[in-house]
Subunit: 193 residues, 2 copies
């Protein structure tokens, strides 16, 4: 079991960041981040998420036209912005990722199952990225407020990947964190049978 400090770091005290210090993140840290999040479980190890790190200022400037106005300043001042994306053809990697069975065939002819599996498991991996970043001492600012079609045209015209959500990464400025919003009580969100 994790100690209180670690529980605070990954969930209890961690907060979505709205402003950033100018401390950079190294490329080595981005590799360490992937090498941690990649171990999170996915269905049949399908691992459909793809991660495009917009590490240079020039790369982030290409993202600006797709952002909600309220997300522009914090994105441009973050050390890095990750586009958490999904590869719709994730199943072509299954012979490598799940060699025990012909898992590719479960999805290759079933577009609805492939799409649902990609969205569910790619999103799980996006959550693992958030937790892994916090575990490595980084702060996160996840964002859903952007135009997906614009992002996909700007960054994924070649690969066919689809954007899911964005995460700013860096070292946050605690003065810009909002007051914490309430969470649902156990009895509103859970039931024990």
């Amino acid at each position: 079991m994790l100690d209180d400090t670690a529980l605070d770091t990954i969930l209890r005290a961690a907060r979505t960041q709205n402003a950033w210090t100018d401390t950079p993140i190294s490329a080595e840290t981005l590799h360490a981040l992937y090498d941690l999040l990649k171990f999170g479980p996915t269905s049949a190890n399908c691992s459909p998420a793809r991660f495009l790190f917009l590490h240079s200022r020039a790369a982030r400037e290409r993202l600006v036209p797709a952002l909600s106005p309220g997300n522009v300043a914090k994105t441009m001042s973050a050390a890095t912005t990750v586009i958490v994306a999904t590869d719709p053809l994730f199943y072509d990697k299954l012979p490598e990722l799940f060699p025990h069975a012909d898992a590719r065939s479960w999805f290759a002819g079933n577009a609805a199952l492939a799409e649902e599996t990609a969205f569910r498991n790619g999103t799980l991996q996006g959550a693992y990225l958030i937790i892994a970043a916090r575990a490595l001492g980084l702060d996160c600012g996840p964002m859903s407020g952007f135009d997906r079609a614009t992002v996909d045209a700007a960054f994924f015209a070649g690969s066919g990947w689809k954007s899911n959500f964005l995460v700013n990464l860096g070292h946050g400025d605690p003065a810009a964190v909002f007051a914490r919003s309430p969470r649902l009580a156990f009895a509103e969100a859970c039931e024990i049978l």
Copy 2:
């Protein structure tokens, strides 16, 4: 930053479990689990996931008709099985969860946006449940192999919640863990711009 032991516990050494010891989980632990996972971030704090803990053997027996055959024995021997579900009417809680704006109106008249937001954020919360359970010293066995319509009819006819995925919880038997499958290399899953 978390130490090596904690990183191993939440991601690096944690493994999907296929068999379980008979050590039970208390209802207090299920409350502690929710009180940890609930702090994970969701878009506009929308918190659409709902968690039905099938804690009694009788409750899990009602799940069996919906399970893939390979998932029956491990589910019946787990201490608890969680149905990670989603409330399609999650936006009715937004006046409580996000009092800063009329966030309910963003979703109440836009079924496509509501459905996508519920699936994305409910799945993020399912990942937080997996990590939170490991952080509290539990083992997990997430499962997608089940019939959603059967589960929804058996458990959610009254609430209208929709099943997303299942997670067995308990204390795993390390002898039943499979060899770890490979993960994609950084260059296959990531790019830095």
